[in-house]
Amino acid sequence: MAVPSLEQTENLERLAQAPTGDFEVTREVGYYQLVWRRLRRHRPAMAGVVVLMFVALSCFIVPGFQLGPITWNGFLTSDWNNPDLLHRFAAPNWPHIMGTDELGRDIFYRVLKGGQISILVGLGATVVTIFVGVSFGALSGYFGGFLDNLLMRITDAMLTVPSIFILILLSSGIKIELPIPFTSAKLGGLLPGQTPPLIILAIGIVAWPYTARIIRSVVLSVREKEFVEAARAIGSGTPKILIRHILPNALGPIVVSATLTIGVAIITESALSYLGLGIGPPIASWGSMLFHAQEFIWEAAHYALFPGAMILITVLCVNFIGDGLRDAFDPRSFER
């Protein structure tokens, strides 16, 4: 192809800048750039990003300051996680801005530490879910036939029993003793079953079928596109077609369902911990704090307020972001 001359380029630029007639010539915008622009216009999603960043940064940074050199005027001191039985169930006031719990520990500090666990479990479970779900969905949708039938029957089977029931079975077992390396020794006095890695695995094991179904339907439609046929015609192998050609085209649904899975995972973890089967003492998560808060609801009404509010805020932000991403990836859903 001939290289355009200088005048031609200038002409093209002028054409691009000045609309002529009743149509407009604009600069070419890539797909992901377009998605990003649409996402930025989605106000709830952007608000969600900001608030979520604030919550996450507070959870991960603020507890680190407790041993810092700055004097905090009694606020956030180093013994806030230690039991202080003389000051149980203190109402919210300075310096305990969220009050103290049944052992006199500061609730503000535990909400932040618990937030670390809740957020990490949410993210970790999402990684597991997406990995398993995308593998199942992509293999099932791409190969079809017997494999599809087998994988989809397993998916159907997992969907017939609600995930929380299977989770209860899984976590009531791993709570007692499980000879899994790298969990028990490293975390010292912690009961092995209550370690976050096992909860992450358990949630990932039960949450993948929804993702698998979505990905399968997307792969089914992408599989028939011309560029896949072209890739096959020039001799690309199956793994390459799957990873380089099909999965990037399923990125929208993958990202959206991953985002929504974070919210589901955080709620699931807190529900499980609330039932006394998830994260257990001495570490806290928002759900396990509510488990203890219910026990002492007549002594300390403020105890239940803050962990639950944090769950609500976090999951709400995640869901807003997921909604924004869905609209951004699929503008047709915008009209709803």
């Binding site: 209860i168 077992g173 499980l178 609801i297």
Partner: protein, 330 residues
């Protein structure tokens, strides 16, 4: 239609088989089993130990134990609890009515509240009310319902009790009597039952109201843009008649499917709500069995639930075909 039902039922068999294998594997993989309690006794002789193992079939290979479970399902008793020695069916039949009362009350609440909300939000799309409903639905999705339960207990029972000396609403159980040392399995008067039902049913309903009102809104929006609605308007029918008689009746159709698919979610709601409000239903029974690893009961309840879910899906499809003559099943 008949053939369709038969074919779907046959398709359900492998699904049930797979889920039962998965559940059985999870229960077998438990590090501590319910029967360990029977075996860890200091004076247990080897012969007695063997007798216990033989009695429950634990000395047999795993596939044989699975066979015993399957045999129990076809027998109709779904296995026997290792603790109370009652059959799972009799345990369920004690608790299921309570759960159904809770679910039924909550579900009626859901339909009564969410249908008008969804319809009005769709008719007045992009109005303030619509925005409010959409935002409210998001909050409803994201709300952990056990926390909502705790907050309602605090606001309606703890605070009034501290400041006024009485609770506005009861915080748990099914009846005012016999709640001292636990909670009763029976209820005495319907008024008292309804009084105890208010909080659990509300907490149960909130998430569903969020989901259903949004769903009905979407279905109504789909219908309102269709030709027959324009025709109805062009005939000069009043707007109320157009919405109620023409649009709403069609928007009800997808709701049938949603109701069928939501049966498992109802049980999820039950297990959480019953735990918050000490409601003596199946959810609590399941949790108690899980805490003690009572595997026969756990397995029985879950297989029954799976069957119920599959039947629910099938019934939803059949009713949908019956309600909407445009749909043909082959």
């Amino acid at each position: 239609m008949y053939k369709y039902v038969v074919r779907r039922s046959i398709q359900a068999v492998p699904v049930l088989f797979i889920i039962s294998i998965i559940l059985f594997a999870i229960l077998q993989a438990q590090p501590v089993h319910a029967w360990d309690q029977l075996l860890y006794r200091p004076n247990l002789s080897a012969a007695d130990r063997q007798r216990i193992l033989d009695y429950y079939g634990f000395s047999k290979p795993i596939w044989y134990q699975y066979g015993i479970q399957v045999w129990n399902w076809f027998h109709g008793d779904l296995g026997t609890s290792y603790f109370s020695h009652q059959t799972t069916v009799s345990l369920i039949s004690q608790r299921l009515p309570n759960t159904i009362i809770l679910m039924g009350a909550a579900y009626i609440m859901v339909l009564v509240i969410s249908i008008p909300i969804g319809v009005i939000a769709a008719v007045k799309q992009y109005s303030k009310f619509d925005t409010f409903v959409t935002t409210g639905a998001f909050v409803g999705f994201s709300l952990p319902n056990f926390w909502l339960g705790l907050m309602l207990i605090i606001m309606l029972a703890v605070w009034p009790y501290e400041h006024l000396g009485f609770k506005l609403l009861p915080t748990g159980g099914m009846s005012s009597e016999l709640t001292a040392g636990g909670f009763s399995l029976i209820w005495t008067s319907p008024v008292d039952l309804a009084w105890h039902l208010v909080l659990p049913a509300t907490v149960f309903a909130v998430q569903f109201i969020a989901q259903y009102s949004r769903f009905i809104r979407g279905a109504m929006l789909d219908i309102m843009n269709q030709d027959f609605v324009r025709t109805a308007r062009a005939k000069g029918l009043s707007e109320v008649r157009v919405v109620v008689r023409h649009a709403f009746r069609n928007a009800l159709l997808p709701l049938i499917t949603l109701m069928g698919l939501d049966i498992p979610q109802l049980f999820v709601g039950a297990i959480i709500t019953e735990q918050v409000f000490a409601w003596p239903g199946m959810g609590r029974m399941f949790l108690e069995a899980a805490y003690r690893n009572d595997s026969q009961v756990l397995m029985g309840v879950l297989v029954l639930l799976a069957v119920l879910v599959l039947i629910g899906n099938l019934v939803a499809d059949v009713v949908y075909g019956w309600a909407d003559p445009r749909i043909q099943y082959h």
